[in-house]
């Protein structure tokens, strides 16, 4: 699903954010990406989103080379990947329903299909009863559920979450993780960058740890610390 081959990223100011990373994530895996701030998690994700290009190395996503991809191929590549952020990034002037529908509008779905698909996914993430509410009327957990619904509505084979529980209390965090795990059970590959020690230790999933830009550890059923 994802493959990083000898990826190095050096920024213009000379900082080496990633140093010769080799990483392979298979289809259907559930992976935590951990490490202290500045370890290179954000850089790794932004390379995956193709916001930036690596200084050296190749990155493959669902068989496509991200480094060699042309600009006009990027939208298609991004459609294979749902994204969830720490700050939810919902549109404040739209309801839950409209926020999720927005993802399909952007992909030029038919109105009829949008009306059919949105309730299904809202039901799946457990937020259907909030469909007509605006983001400011929701709790953090509900906002994140909405964001997850938006990320998965067009069935991307990969879901990437950047600190999805960073703004949530432990109980809500755990609920969100359970939701992500359910999505993973249905076949979606899930990659989560996180600081959250408790969650990583409870879930017993594969853990990839970065330290100072290098791959420090890669364990099946790992924990936050080795």
């Amino acid at each position: 699903m994802i493959q990083f081959c000898n990826v190095t990223k050096v920024y213009d100011n000379g900082t080496t954010a990633l140093n010769n990373i080799n990483l392979k994530v298979e289809k259907g895996e559930f992976v935590f990406l951990v490490g202290p701030s500045g370890a290179g998690k954000s850089t790794l994700l932004s390379l995956l989103f193709r916001e930036e290009l690596p200084t050296k190395g190749q990155i493959f996503l669902a068989g496509r080379n991200l480094v060699r991809a042309k600009r006009r191929e990027l939208p298609g590549i991004r459609r294979t990947m749902g994204v969830v952020f720490q700050d939810f990034r919902l549109l404040p002037d739209r309801t839950v329903f409209e926020n999720v529908a927005f993802a399909l509008e952007v992909l030029q779905y038919r109105k009829r299909d949008i009306l059919k698909l949105v309730p299904i996914v809202l039901e799946q993430v457990g937020i259907m009863h909030r469909a007509k509410n605006f983001p400011r009327q929701l709790s953090g957990g509900e906002q994140q559920r909405t964001a997850i619904a938006r990320a998965i509505i067009n069935n991307p084979p990969l879901l990437v979450a950047d600190e999805p529980t960073g703004n949530l209390d432990p109980k809500t965090s755990m609920e969100i993780m359970k939701l992500l795990e359910e999505i993973n059970y249905k076949g979606t590959t899930v990659l989560i960058a996180t600081h959250d020690r408790d969650i990583v230790d409870t879930m017993h999933k594969r853990v990839v740890a970065l330290h100072n830009g290098s791959l420090a550890r890669d364990e099946k059923e790992g924990s936050y610390n080795s």
Binding site: R50, E52, P75, G76, R79, L91, F102, V106, L107
Partner: protein, 295 residues
């Protein structure tokens, strides 16, 4: 592109036009003023070109013969001039006719010949018209080289002055138009940038969701083109009716000067202004968006 997508673009554009009404108004007015001045300048130039063409076509060469040239020499020069293919009209003015003309200018009851002691000091001369104003100088010089010709006069000094005046009017006008066009691109660009900024969050989400750049761009392009079109439409309306009114009042007063009165041409110029406005607006949006669509 699917119809519902196009509809979506127009809806988005409409929303943001309403949301930033005052900025929009400011950029519409700037565009209107810039394009109005541009239109006035274009019409002015066309009229000046018409007038100067008219002046050039009436240019004459006056060929003064030697004072002591005899009858036969005068005839020979006349034949020579008539045989030049570029010359369309030759008129001979004899010593006597010249004196009579001069006398007339002094007024009746005044005998110029008597004043001059009974001797006519005027030479014979020819008035020559050339078919191509650009050849006036060359032909005049050729005629000046004939032995019996004392000198030639043609409106070259006058023509040079008019030409250099036209040159400066063009330069100043072009500079002004360039600055104003830049100002309207800047202002429309700023208006659109406000919208873009207000929606930068939405744009980045759209990018993450896999929207194409054109999908993001179209609503903003429509907004910019709409603002530009409204501005230029105002300019074109003022230009069209303003010019018509001006011509109606001015043309009878200066009937000796030819002016452009072709309504269809005027309509075309107005139409071109509107197209220019739409393009300026679109360009402004395109430039303002650049930064947000890079990744």
């Amino acid at each position: 592109m699917k119809p519902r997508t196009i509809l979506y673009f127009f809806k988005q554009a409409g929303k943001s036009i309403f949301r930033h009404g005052w900025m929009g108004t400011a950029s519409v007015l700037t565009t209107a003023i810039a394009l109005l001045i541009f239109g006035v300048f274009v019409l002015g130039m066309m009229n000046i070109n018409l007038i100067s063409g008219h002046v050039e076509s009436t240019l004459e060469i006056i060929v003064w013969l030697q004072d002591d040239a005899d009858e036969e020499t005068v005839q020979n020069v006349g034949t020579y001039l008539r045989n030049l293919s570029q010359i369309t009209q030759v008129r001979h003015v004899s010593k006597e006719e010249g004196l009579a003309m001069l006398n007339k200018e002094f007024g009746s009851g005044y005998d110029l010949l008597w004043t001059l002691g009974g001797e006519n000091p005027l030479p014979d001369f020819y008035v020559v018209k050339v078919n191509n104003p650009e050849l006036v100088r060359a032909i005049a010089q050729r005629i000046a080289n004939l032995p019996p010709v004392e000198k030639v006069d043609y409106g070259q000094d006058y023509l040079d002055k008019v030409l250099s005046l036209l040159y400066w009017i063009r330069m100043v006008g072009l500079g002004a138009v360039g600055l104003l066009a830049a100002a309207s691109v800047f202002l429309i660009g700023n208006t659109v940038r406000l919208t873009v900024y207000a929606r930068s969050n939405e744009i980045s989400i759209m990018k993450y969701l896999g929207a194409t750049n054109w999908f993001v761009r179209w609503p903003f392009l429509i907004e910019g083109m709409f603002l530009g079109t409204i501005g230029s439409f105002i300019a074109a309306t003022f230009l069209y009716f303003g010019y018509n009114v001006l011509i109606q009042h001015l043309a009878p007063a200066i009937s000796f000067v030819p002016l452009i009165q072709d309504k269809e041409l005027l309509m075309q110029i107005s139409g071109m202004l509107v197209v220019a406005g739409a393009l300026l607006g679109g360009l402004a949006s395109f430039i303002s968006l650049g930064r947000y669509l890079r990744f």
